[in-house]
């Protein structure tokens, strides 16, 4: 394992639990309350006895009080399907040496370990490349890491198509972490989010931007910028006013995303690639009540 994934960090991750806004139907018993009423350990409610119900669940105390047969209903605790949509397009490589994809990888690993240590099922869709197998249990961590380690951002793809294809492989809804820089046109981004919502996932957007994307490099004046995916070029002359304009444009873009997320009850977290995964997972996300 790599820094900061020390044994101590893992112990801290074990204390965390992915918080969802609602219950999801899992594939197996887990620790999450599912929407399925069943025979779990947690009392949920009474209901009238129907022929065929397990008579061991008849609450005789209630019968004695009401002369009616009621059975105790327990909430089915099932595993959570934690699904990561990870943007692995070429844009996540840039700017070079600012660690945007490294942080993406670490966030996926950290959150994935939280989910695995809770008995949840983890799968990762590396958009544009592949979808990982499902992992469950803490022992799946090395395999998860192996998947993450062997992936490098490359190429360009139709985001909607890839998200749609990734979602199609998900049988159960659950918690979805969509990790990307989201520096594409807002319309197609929102369409992708709609696709995820339509699948009933509890979506959290983790927008990872490099420091030079958050604030233009002050040492740059005359620059020829090249789009990492389309290879389109643009000549720029940067000064104080243009940096101000950029900040405005970025804020506007992020605000559009946030507005949609707010309306759609989607959590949106803006993360700088300069931040450490520990700070994000141990502090920031719990503060946002995305982890508990």
């Amino acid at each position: 394992m790599v820094e900061p994934f020390t044994p101590g960090f893992f112990r801290q991750l074990q204390q965390l639990k992915i918080h969802t806004r609602r219950s999801f139907l899992g594939s197996r018993q887990g620790i999450h309350q599912s929407s399925r009423r069943g025979h779990g350990l947690e009392f949920h409610d009474y209901r009238l006895y129907s022929p065929g119900d397990d008579f061991r669940h008849i609450d005789w105390n209630v019968y004695g009080r009401t002369d009616r047969l009621y059975v105790r209903e327990f909430r089915e605790e099932q595993d959570l399907n934690v699904f990561f949509l990870v943007d692995t397009s070429n844009s996540m490589r840039f700017p070079i040496d600012e660690g945007k994809f490294d942080l993406t990888r670490h966030l996926t690993l950290a959150l994935g370990y939280v989910a695995l240590s809770d008995g949840d099922t983890v799968s990762v869709a590396f958009l544009g490349q592949k979808v990982s197998p499902k992992f469950s249990g803490p022992s799946a961590l090395p395999r998860l890491w192996n998947e993450l380690r062997n992936i490098s951002p490359r190429g360009t793809f139709d985001l909607r198509k890839e998200v749609r294809a990734a979602l199609a492989q998900q049988k159960y809804a659950g918690k979805c972490f969509f990790i990307s820089d989201f520096l594409t046109d807002i319309e197609s981004t929102l369409e992708c989010l709609d696709l995820v919502r339509a699948k009933n996932f509890d979506l959290t957007l983790l927008q990872v931007l490099s420091p030079s994307e958050l604030q233009l490099d002050p040492n740059l004046s005359q620059v020829l910028v090249v789009d990492a995916e389309s290879r389109e070029t643009l000549e720029l002359a940067l000064d104080r006013s243009s940096r101000f304009e950029y900040a405005k444009a970025l804020a506007n873009h992020v605000e559009q995303l946030e507005n949609y997320c707010r309306k759609a009850s989607i959590a949106h977290v803006l993360i700088s690639s300069a931040e450490s995964v520990a700070d994000v997972v141990l502090t920031k996300l719990p503060e946002l009540r995305l982890l508990k």
Partner: protein, 641 residues
């Protein structure tokens, strides 16, 4: 202006450093090339203002100009500029001879004289020189004269110029220049004349290097003039004389003219004769007019004038008039006075009778007896008082008082001569090559004719109507074709001496003459003014200069043993060289026989100061970079490269 004339660059090649300036421009254009950056998305960057076009991009930052200034200053320092910290002592020799009275077409079409052009040229030249220079102004005619005090300012020179005007006298620019150089107290000499120099050279004056600069003014212009006037005895009729007039024309095309002869007897002037002529370019036309013999108080006024439109092309009008008086002369013999009493072969000169005499025998002669001779030649001898007869003093004794001797030199080198003087006619002066020569002092009434490096060895002058020649080299015995140079010189001397005596009394403007010291003189000038010469205290004969053309009346008061006397002198502006305004002959810059030596000129190096400035600018540039002051000075994107 003085600063820039003192500024010199010792190694101009160092300025090649400035050729790096284009490289600096390229470096700056290259310095801000487009940095290529791959970004994740252009989504937001497309919203920013685009880079200005190349045309607008080529706006160099302030720092470029700072660095360019440093580069240029370093190039300047590399040329090692120095200030020649010296003031020059400059002599200005201004030609004031007759030829400078010639009209010169002005820029505005109006005619000004060459002398006015020369004055303006001097004024301009002085204005262009270093303010540290000092000047001494000389004029060349009638003899070299200093106009200002020595080493005055430019302003004083300009002030002294305005009242000056050209004279009617000839000059010898070569001799004048040599005299200035011999003084040895000038760093530079400016010669302003209508004549060019034969060459430009540095020469030595008393061991220092003197720079000579020539300014020529005026352009070729036509001139009609009288070259000579004389009265000759008529061979056919003893009661008649022949008035011989020589008319010259310096120009391109023949010109129709008219010669008029007036006789002035007392206060009345009467036209005696007139004749139309056609003057040919560069030819002397000889005319004879018979005139009755009237006596010595009668003089003739001859005038020549161009006709019609040609009158406007006569550059000098002063030489269009002449005067001549009558003096009856008979064929007189020549007397040679020497210790041996010999005639030294001079009897071979055709048409001249020659008698020999010893100094003792000469001393016994009375003035009237001496006056019976046309010329007296003193060979190795000299009387105490010069006779009133044209005389040649050949190798006079060192203690003679008429032509004081400076020194004797062995195998002297001839350095200059007055080629235009009749004594130098047809003479190849450099071929004289004397084994030894006497160097004369120059009495004020004489002019040097032939000079060696140490001074003049042949002098000529006129005094009271008689001519004198002093010759410091041996040209006797007269051997004819066996000694051609000496023979030609002797003939020239005799002709000149004889001509002054025999053919009427006529002097030229600019000449000087000595008046007898034992009487008072009153001189009436042609312009009507009068000058009195009292008996001098120390017995030195007063000198009369003849600047104007016309008739001078000299009245000597009675003195013990002498009656009062009245003489009429005709003074004419007949100077062939001066009147030849269409083709001027160059003057010689004196030769030097010594190698040039360059004097050490104090200099103040300027390059350290330039480097200090560069270092200061560099320090300021560094500070500006450290405190990002350049960045703050940058404006909006559109103004920044």
């Amino acid at each position: 202006m003085g600063f820039f004339s003192s500024l010199h660059f010792l190694s101009l090649a160092g300025g090649a450093v400035a050729l790096a300036a284009p490289l600096l421009i390229l470096a700056y254009l290259q310095k801000n090339p487009l940095r290529r950056r791959t970004v994740s998305s252009l989504l937001l960057l497309k919203l920013l203002p685009k880079r200005p076009s190349l045309k607008r991009r080529v706006q160099l930052p302030i720092r470029f100009f700072v660095e360019l200034l440093m580069l240029l200053l370093m190039a300047l320092a590399a040329t090692t500029p120095v200030l020649f910290d010296t003031s020059h002592r400059v002599a200005i020799l201004l030609d004031s001879s007759l030829s400078m009275r010639a009209l010169a077409p002005g820029l505005s079409g109006s005619n000004i004289t060459r002398f006015q052009l020369a004055r303006a040229a001097v004024e301009k030249w002085v204005g262009d020189q270093s303010a540290l220079n000092t000047y001494t102004l000389y004029i060349s005619a009638p003899k070299l004269s200093r106009v200002t005090d020595t080493n005055v300012t430019a302003g004083a020179v300009v002030s002294a110029l305005s009242p000056l005007s050209a004279t009617l006298a000839p000059d010898s620019m070569s001799a004048a220049l040599e005299e200035i150089l011999q003084a040895g107290s000038f760093d530079r000499v400016l010669v302003v004349s209508d004549r060019p120099s034969d060459r430009a050279a540095n020469t030595i004056g008393d061991g220092n290097t003197t720079e000579i600069e020539s300014l020529q003014v005026g352009t070729p212009v036509s001139n009609l003039y009288i070259a000579n006037l004389r009265i000759e005895n008529s061979a056919a009729d003893a009661s008649q004389s022949e008035l011989a007039v020589s008319v010259g024309f310096s120009g391109m095309q023949p010109v129709d003219s008219e010669v008029k002869v007036f006789r002035r007897d007392g206060s009345q002037e009467q036209l005696v004769s007139s004749r139309p002529i056609r003057a040919q370019p560069n030819k002397i036309l000889e005319l004879n007019f018979p005139v009755p013999r009237k006596g010595s108080d009668v003089f003739y006024h001859i005038s020549v004038s161009a006709s019609g439109d040609a009158a406007t092309t006569d550059a000098i009008v002063d030489d269009n008039d002449g005067w001549v008086t009558e003096r009856t002369q008979a064929g007189k013999p020549m007397l040679v006075v020497s210790e041996s009493g010999s005639t030294f072969g001079l009897e071979a000169i055709r048409s001249i009778r020659v008698l020999g005499s010893t100094p003792v025998e000469y001393a016994k002669l009375s003035d009237e007896e001496r006056a019976r001779f046309s010329v007296i030649i003193f060979q190795g001898a000299a009387p105490r008082i010069a006779p009133h007869v044209s005389s040649l003093f050949l190798l006079p004794p060192s203690d003679n008082t008429i032509f004081p001797i400076k020194k004797q030199v062995e195998t002297p080198n001839i350095s200059s001569w007055q080629s235009e003087h009749p004594l130098a006619s047809y003479l190849k002066v450099p071929l004289l090559k004397p084994a030894a020569a006497l160097i004369f002092e120059v009495p004020p009434w004489t002019q040097p004719i032939i000079n060696v490096e140490q001074g003049p060895i042949l002098l000529a002058g006129e005094s009271r109507g008689v001519r004198f020649v002093a010759c410091g080299l041996q040209i006797l015995p007269f051997e004819g074709s066996n000694t051609p140079s000496a023979t030609v010189l002797m003939l020239n001397i005799v002709n000149w001496l004889v001509g002054g005596e025999e053919f009427g009394t006529s002097l030229v403007t600019g000449a000087t003459m000595r008046l007898e010291a034992d009487a008072e003189w009153s001189v009436h000038f042609p312009n009507g003014s009068e000058e009195k010469f009292p008996i001098p205290q120390k017995g030195e004969a007063p000198t009369l200069t003849l600047p104007e053309k016309g008739i001078y009346t000299l009245i000597r008061s009675a003195a013990p043993g002498k009656n009062a006397k009245r003489e009429i002198l005709a003074v004419n502006p007949f100077h062939l060289e001066e009147s030849s305004t269409f083709s001027v002959s160059p003057y010689s810059i004196p030769e030097t026989s010594t190698d040039l030596s360059s004097a050490e000129i104090p200099q103040r190096p300027l390059w350290p100061y330039v480097l200090y400035i560069v270092l200061t600018i560099f320090a300021v540039d560094l500070l500006f970079q450290l405190f990002a002051i350049y960045d703050r000075m940058r404006g909006r994107v559109s103004t920044v490269a």
